[in-house]
């Protein structure tokens, strides 16, 4: 496997460092060849920077990608927005030589050149394609058999597909495959591919952001799922923090929001508190209790099966 760096992005490092923790724990658990490199800035956030100045959006993203060219490493990110922004600019510059030259004439001044030669991938498709389902299954100590988990992909994990090229943009499957590989049921639901709506919080439309959070949480509550799984700090903010704010106002959903890395880490046998689960605003107590109970039962069945099998080997007196 080629060496890679992790692009943490502003939101995880500023607001949710425990998500960096669980990501590092699972990357280390698989012994993957990653290292931090100096010099990244904001990806930058498209809905902010591109809205105001497209040229600066392209230049800033191109500089981040050029750092990969210099270090000769691929990029993996646990943030969907970061990857999607970087990949979109990457693809735009590959299609437009004139713009690429313009960008490079500025980057040359600081000793960089945009080539865009390295892979830019989100952590979920990376685990699916590069680590692979069999390797993941091999690592499972406490799988989620019997648990019902609803996946929220997050728009920018899969779109725009011309730039990301990692899954079907309207019918994605990789996250589902991973959740099933961990033993859980991936619950299918109507609003599965609906945007989280967190963007509205960034343009002073908090009530509308809550409206979007509610659409999904209401359906998941009715379906009695055990948790929602996602892998984007912005979606996490929307469903954990905004759910908490609604609960404070008396609207109860009780859907724990679990990061892909937290689920994988737990299945690998790490302790939930070491993975940062106690930093969540929506508690996962019920989820954890059910999971412990089911794992106890699973262990008992496995033990019975072992004894049964052994029985056949016992020599008759």
């Amino acid at each position: 496997m080629k060496d890679f760096t992790v692009f943490w992005g502003c939101t995880i490092q500023t607001r949710f460092p425990f998500l960096e923790k669980s990501t590092r724990m699972v990357l280390d658990g698989f012994n993957l060849p990653y290292r931090d490199i100096d010099g990244f800035t904001c990806c930058p956030e498209k809905s902010l920077v591109n809205n105001i100045d497209h040229g600066l959006w392209v230049l800033t993203a191109a500089r981040n990608v050029a750092l990969l060219d210099k270090a000769g490493v691929d990029l993996v990110s646990p943030c969907t927005g970061c990857v999607s922004n970087l990949a979109t600019v990457n693809s735009e510059l590959h299609l437009d030589n004139k713009e690429k030259n313009k960008v490079n004439s500025i980057l040359n001044e600081i000793g960089l050149e945009f080539k865009g030669k390295n892979k830019l991938r989100h952590l979920v498709p990376f685990f699916h394609d590069e680590v692979g389902i069999p390797a993941i299954k091999n690592k499972l100590i406490k799988p989620f058999n019997g648990m019902r988990i609803a996946i929220h992909y997050g728009c920018h994990m899969i779109r725009p597909s011309h730039a990301l090229k990692n899954d079907d943009p309207l019918d994605p499957k990789k996250f589902d495959n991973l959740i099933r590989a961990m033993g859980a049921e991936s619950v299918q639901y109507m609003t599965k591919l609906l945007c989280c709506g967190q963007g509205l919080d960034r343009v002073d439309q908090h009530e509308n952001a809550l409206h979007f959070a509610r659409l999904k949480l209401k359906e998941l509550k009715a379906l009695k799922v055990d948790a929602m799984a996602l892998c984007c700090p912005s979606c996490y903010l929307q469903f954990d923090n905004n759910q908490f704010l609604m609960e404070k106002e008396g609207e109860k959903f009780g859907i724990p929001i679990l990061y892909f890395t937290e689920l994988l880490g737990m299945a690998m046998g790490y302790r939930p508190e070491d993975l940062g689960l106690d930093s969540h605003r929506i508690e996962a107590t019920d989820f954890l209790e059910k999971w412990q109970r089911l794992n106890g039962e699973l262990a008992k069945t496995t033990e019975l099966n072992r004894q049964l099998e052994e029985g056949f080997g016992i020599a008759q007196p």
Partner: protein, 144 residues
């Protein structure tokens, strides 16, 4: 990206397909509808939309882009409207605040050092703020 390509928008005015997949169109009670904005752009009367909250309701989910046979999508028209609005100082408060922070620091926040320590995380890698300042200066000089 050709943001306000009138030829493409002309086709939109006859198509409207992405309305039916757009989460904001389908779910916002007050009625987000880029078709109306596009109609006004084509008629040369887009001015009123620049101060309208509608143009900030595009979630940039890229659903429209994925289904559009022109590879255009409502989102590009909406982004162009937001750029025009920003040029006139009509960006929302939070957008302005975020922009200022980005220009000053090259980021939207700094790593939380005490929390990192408590979690046992290594020191965060250095940011590229210095180099960013340099290229920003060149970029701005060349723009004028």
């Amino acid at each position: 990206m050709e943001s306000l390509n009138l030829k493409l928008l002309e086709v939109c005015s006859k198509c409207g397909a992405c309305y039916h997949i757009c989460p904001s169109c389908l779910n916002l009670d007050e009625g987000y509808d880029p078709r109306a904005v596009i109609k006004d752009i084509l008629a040369g009367q887009y001015e009123k939309w620049l101060s309208h909250k509608s143009i900030w309701q595009c979630l940039e989910c890229h659903h429209c882009l994925e289904i559009c046979f022109q590879h255009y999508g409502f989102e590009n028209a909406m982004a162009a409207m937001r750029t025009l609005a920003s040029k006139k100082g009509l960006a929302t408060t939070q957008v302005k605040r975020g922009w200022d922070m980005f220009i000053k620091t090259s980021k939207l926040g700094e790593p939380a050092a005490p929390a990192r320590k408590k979690l046992g995380l290594p020191e965060a890698a250095k940011s590229g703020a210095e180099d960013f300042k340099k290229i920003l200066k060149i970029y701005q000089e060349r723009k004028v």
